[in-house]
């Protein structure tokens, strides 16, 4: 079975720094999986996600999406991704509906299909009325909703989400988690980063923890547990502290 997402020996150093932001990481995410990507601030989560989505070039190694190399075959690879970034930087002067149509255009979504999906997500996030207004008038959470709707509009098999729940109201967060579950039930994959460990614990089939640019643990919650009653929080704290002490 082809992995939905395959990261092989990937490294990245920013031009203005000599420290590796991501240091020789390898990871495979399979179809039907919700994969949680955890790590402290500045650990390399967003850099990894930006390389997966083709936003940042890879210095060393290889990333494939549904078998397509993100560097060698970027268009096909990107067609299979729906990306939600950690910021809310979108075209603020566009109306919500214009942004969604723009995304649908570049992902080549037919008119009748986009109409159905746009309406579905606008209704789900209670954004139908706001869609006629410029994004600059939206609140933080509304911007997040429009970005999420844009990422899902072409129904890609792989969702890559960087802190997708941040800023969403409880109802919208609940609905998005439901969507993630349904998406994976159809054999698709969700790869997301979060700082909310409870969400990761309840939602994810597997979890990867990154610290100082290196993957320090990958597995199911049970596999990561060292004792029976350990919570994900204690696992996370002990692993990241070990990493810090080891590097000190």
């Amino acid at each position: 079975m082809v992995a939905m997402l395959s990261i092989q020996n990937v490294s990245k150093t920013y031009s203005k720094s000599k420290v590796k932001a991501v240091d020789n990481i390898s990871l495979e995410v399979r179809p039907g999986e919700i994969f949680g990507f955890l790590g402290p601030n500045g650990a390399g989560k967003t850099t990894t996600i930006k390389m997966i989505t083709g936003i940042l070039p890879i210095d060393e190694g290889r990333i494939t999406i549904c078998g397509y190399d993100i560097e060698k075959d970027p268009i096909k690879a990107k067609m299979n991704i729906g990306f939600v970034p950690d910021n809310h930087d979108v075209y603020e002067r566009l109306k919500g509906i214009e942004y969604l149509n723009f995304i649908a255009d570049v992902y080549d979504v037919p008119t009748d299909v986009r109409k159905e999906r746009i309406n579905k997500y606008l209704e789900m996030f209670e954004m139908k009325e706001a869609a006629g207004q410029q994004i600059k008038s939206y609140s933080h959470g509304m911007k997040q909703k429009i970005v999420v709707a844009g990422a899902l509009i072409h129904q890609p098999p792989l969702w890559i989400m960087d802190e997708p729940l941040t800023g969403l109201d409880p109802r919208a967060a609940h609905l998005l988690k439901e969507e993630m579950n349904q998406h994976c039930a159809k054999g698709n994959t969700v790869f997301f980063s979060t700082h909310i460990l409870e969400v990761a614990e309840k939602l994810c089939h597997r979890i990867g923890i990154i610290n100082k640019g290196k993957i320090i643990a990958v597995g199911t919650i049970d596999e990561l547990r060292k004792s029976e009653d350990a919570s994900l929080e204690s696992i996370f704290l002990s692993l990241t502290e070990e990493g810090s002490a080891g590097n000190a």
Partner: protein, 556 residues
Amino acid sequence: MRKFFSLLKTQLNAQFGFTNALYNLKNDRKAFLRGFGIFIAVLLSAAYFIGFYTFFIYQVYKGASAMNMPHMILTIAAICSGVIVLIFGVFYILGALFLAKDTEFLASLPIQQGSVFMAKFAMVLIGEYPLAFILMLPPVIIYGIGMQKGVLYYILAIICTLFLPFLPLVISSFLSLVLMNVVSRSKRRDLIIIIGSILMVVGLFIAQNYLVSMMPDNPEDFAKALMESSDAIVRFMGRAFPPSVWVTSALSAGGAESALNLLYLVGVSVAAFLIVYLLASFIYQRGATAQLETRKTTGKVRLTYKRSSQIFAIFKNEWLILLRTPIYALNSLMMIFVIPLVMLMPLFGGNFAKDSDMQLLFQLAGSAESQTILMLVLSGFISLFVMINPAVSTTFSREGRNIWILKNIPVKPETQVYAKLLAGYSVSFLAAAAAVITSVITFRIGILTALMILILCGLATIPVNAAGLYVDLIRPKLKWSNPQEAIKQNMNAVLEMLFGFIIISVFAVIAFLLLKLTTNIWYTFGIMVLLLAAVSYLCVMFVGKAAGRAYRNFEA
């Protein structure tokens, strides 16, 4: 006052990037040298213009000295400086005071709105000084050497130059304050800002032209006035910008008259500033925060789901954002209005149209023999004007933090580059078309010649725009906190003008050589079209090929 200086320091640092340059000097020598190299390239291109300007001023000085009016060059320079600051100051002030992204943050700080206004005003004023000094220094030095002036003269010249942009910026600030207060009461704010600013500039142009047209109709009266006093022409010219008369007298009259005129300049500038400062202390914040308020539509919203091709989707996106962001619209689309306005001036003035030189130009425009030269000259002239449009040379810079979208979407960088080039080029083409239509009205040129001019301009603009896009592709200014920085304080727009000037100059030489071979309009037109089309094709292909590598280097 401490808060004012602290705010001014921060604003200047953010605008001119001193901290970033220092950081690069210490940590990233390559980036520093790259920035420094660009700065030197811009200085060198500026040196070319300064050389040309100095030569022009020197010629005027020689002529004016023969008429016993050498100080006229000071008046000319002061008028140029004042009028340019006045016309373009409206956009600078509007952008810095009201359309900046830091407005919300500044409104939350415990700083009086008057101080915020003053810091922003000072920032724009400092930004205007290079232009004021470039325009004033050559005539000041030529006149100083010629008239063997002492140190006091040069000190006075520096003081005058420092105060010269004051009054135009005060007027621009006043107009902007009024406009933004109207905007704060209206529903369609962005639209009113754009239309209001355009109307303000058009109004200033017309007012300026009206003042100039108030020169005596009768040449005999004018000659008589000249005979009576060597200052007559200065006073006549000074109507376009009264402080220019004060500057001229302060630097040339000597004694008490110099002191009195300097006092006029400083006194009026300071008084005018105080009035606007007082006004700003009451109404600045209301106007500044108007752009933060948004209108909510109520009732049923009609949503459309029309499908477009990838290239058209990006093209449409560019246009929508350009039209809806006032600072982008004003800087890019303004050329569509300004070029025709400049060309229509002779019709507004009344007297100018009756001028014997203008009559000769009308005759030339109508004669069959001069059509070839007319076609080439006007094409070059309009192309030079059109390249001032920064829509293409800032297209990636304007993306700012949204650049991740372009890097993430499944559209080839090559296709994106073509879409962006097409969008920016369409602005240039509209400006060229407006200028050509105006030249039909003003210079009474024939429709066929006008069509040929439009085709030549349309083609000549492609390599210029492609060069501008290439510059922005390889060194986009993506890190900015204020949209004005992306378009107005972007060196890429200057570099496009530099490349554009070189490209148009090369074609001007080709046209000149061609005219030596034949004056047949069809042959000349055909050869120029072929050459321009070939160069355009090569340039467009080149930027398309460069896109992939450049996209890799974009750091989102």
